[in-house]
């Protein structure tokens, strides 16, 4: 049903997820992410789309009592990143994330972008300088901040802070980038900037984005998945989902009958 020439970068296989206390938030999700494509997750709030996204970098491991059941397999190495033997830190070094609200560290702009490199133990100033510049250019922020790299990141505007967080995530050359409702805290102009940026990043890496905004999914993504109550209802080419969905529930949601 999906038309593509791109190889699969990662796929979830029959993934269930239980929060601490036993609430089953994901029910048997099977879905691919294609390499260098943007996949969007849509659905009403509480449908499990953010929960699903946060499985990809094992964010749920930070809180005790959460449980995965099933697989997320990454290619080309065929690693099941949910396996107990796989270190979540390794997963997070390969898959980076941009959060709902910009969350820069209380450091300078430069140090925020360099953080991932520092965490990896990179000491060469030349390498860090180059990477920081490359990442800031990649996040379309370089021209605005190149003269004040050592200012505190908190002094940037909300939209700039979110682009800084994207630069931070880019600096370590991740294979996949997760966006958790990246524009929900931003104004329309900043939102447009971020969306444009995502389209550019599409040439470099694989993107999974959660959005509460259907127009955004339609604008930026190649594939769209519609989730409801922890289940994957429909997954298809974005064009088809928004013009000719095969499931009645999907149609009801995108036409605004509920949600």
């Amino acid at each position: 049903m999906v038309t593509t020439t791109s190889p699969v970068k990662a796929e979830s296989r029959d993934l269930n997820f239980y929060y601490n206390g036993g609430h089953k938030a994901l029910k048997g999700i099977t879905m691919p992410l294609y390499e260098k494509r943007i996949t969007a997750l849509i659905g009403p709030s509480g449908c499990g789309k953010s929960t699903f996204l946060r499985c990809f970098n094992r964010m749920h491991d930070l809180y005790p009592g959460n449980k995965y059941d099933g697989q997320i397999v990454m290619h080309p190495d065929n690693t099941n990143i949910l396996d107990n033997g796989v270190d979540p830190i390794e997963v997070r070094m390969r898959i980076s994330m941009v959060f709902q609200k910009p969350n820069p560290f209380p450091k300078s702009i430069y140090e925020n972008v360099a953080y991932g490199l520092r965490v990896r133990g990179e000491r060469s100033k030349r390498v860090v300088d180059d990477k920081v510049e490359e990442a800031l250019k990649g996040a379309a922020l370089w021209d605005e901040v190149k003269n004040r790299l050592h200012d505190l990141a908190f002094n940037l505007s909300g939209g700039q802070q979110q682009r800084l967080c994207i630069a931070r995530a880019l600096a370590t050359d991740p294979e996949i980038m997760l966006f958790d409702e990246p524009t929900s805290a931003l104004d329309p102009i900043a939102t447009a900037n971020i969306e444009e940026l995502m389209s550019e990043l599409r040439n470099k890496l694989t993107i999974l984005v959660v959005t509460h905004n259907m127009q955004q999914a339609a604008r930026v993504s190649d594939y769209t998945a519609y989730m409801y109550l922890g289940e994957l209802i429909e997954y298809d080419d974005t064009d088809r989902i928004f013009t000719n969905p095969s499931r009645k529930e999907t149609e009801d949601y995108i036409t605004g009958k509920f949600g």
């Binding site: 830190i89 997070r92 070094m93 980076s96 994330m97 609200k101 560290f105 953080y115 965490v119």
Partner: protein, 313 residues
């Protein structure tokens, strides 16, 4: 039409129960006034402290020049040939406090980082109350510990260490302040929003990297406030030093020597039988004024840093 309808009830006798109760009204005001007086007692206490310290110090400084007080290197107000230089007492106070901080700051900070970022929820639930319990242990007991446990122990390592010295009580004060610093620094680190930690973990950072590179810098002003309030406690601490550091004013920063602190001097004079109004009696108020100024400075800086830190989130 409308006004007629509205006026009609006003001509009727008002129910006595709904009338403004004058007695009750007055009673309410009296209660409020009494409560206000109670609240003012806090202000009155501060004013009394300041007035008494200043008044007695004023008469002290009629006999002793401020210049001598600040520059003379001897403090012997009770001797025939009296000297009134506060420096020896200040050096004793600063040396014992510095030793205490050298112990308490590293251990307290590491403990706080562990408790906030590494310990399980369960461990934290158990350790936090124990820290609070430790803060409440009376200091005279720590004095016993310094004099009869730590100093003899240290004498086994340094045989030439005198029975009264600044090292032993300094270390004990440090141990005494650890729970205080740990508890306050941990509060500051807990206040760092989870989203910041998530940002770090999402970059592949370990717990240690997150704690050192993100959480600690984010909570730094709260942690520094904990240090400063800890310093203020060490400077004002009395019983440990009065018991174990000796009573002899001694202008030295050598922890292996015995030296009186400001607080130890006040205790020493108060234990004796000095007549009210004598210069010796006034000298403890002058010493107390210096102590008060030192701790007040630290407290104000500490509260200002903590306030600034609270405004960030």
């Amino acid at each position: 039409m409308v006004s007629q309808v509205l006026q009609k009830p006003a001509e009727l006798p008002i129910s006595a129960r709904l009338a403004k109760n004058v007695r009750r009204h007055i009673l309410e005001r009296v209660i409020e006034f009494i409560l206000m007086l109670a609240a003012l007692s806090a202000v009155a206490t501060t004013i009394s402290i300041v007035v008494i310290l200043l008044y007695e110090s004023y008469t002290f400084f009629e006999h002793v020049s401020l210049f001598d007080f600040l520059t003379d290197t001897e403090w012997t107000p009770l001797f025939e040939n009296a000297h009134y230089g506060i420096l020896p007492l200040v050096s004793g106070t600063l040396t014992t406090s510095a030793i205490a901080l050298a112990v308490a700051i590293p251990l307290g900070t590491i403990g706080a980082i562990y408790l906030s970022e590494f310990a399980s929820h369960r461990t934290r639930e158990i350790v936090k109350p124990i820290l609070e319990l430790l803060v409440g242990v009376p200091t005279v007991v720590f004095g016993y510990f310094a004099l009869l446990f730590v100093t003899p122990l240290l004498q086994k390592i340094f045989p030439e260490l005198p029975g009264f010295n600044m090292l032993g009580p300094g270390i004990v004060m440090g141990i005494m302040i650890i729970p205080y610093i740990s508890s306050m620094a941990e509060d500051a680190m807990r206040a760092v929003p989870m989203s910041m930690r998530e940002g770090s973990y999402a970059m592949g950072a370990t717990r240690f990297q997150t704690a050192i590179r993100v959480v600690t810098p984010a909570a730094i002003s709260g942690i520094i406030a904990a240090y400063i309030l800890g310093i203020s406690r060490a400077v004002g601490e009395t019983m440990v030093v009065a018991l174990a550091a000796g009573q002899q004013p001694n202008l030295t920063f050598n922890p292996m020597e015995s030296a009186a602190t400001i607080t130890a001097y006040i205790v020493q004079v108060a234990m004796g039988d000095l007549p009210h109004g004598s210069i010796g009696y006034q000298s403890i108020f002058a010493a107390g004024l210096v102590l008060m100024l030192m701790t007040l400075t630290f407290n104000i800086i500490g509260h200002l840093t903590r306030k600034r830190f609270r405004e960030v989130y």
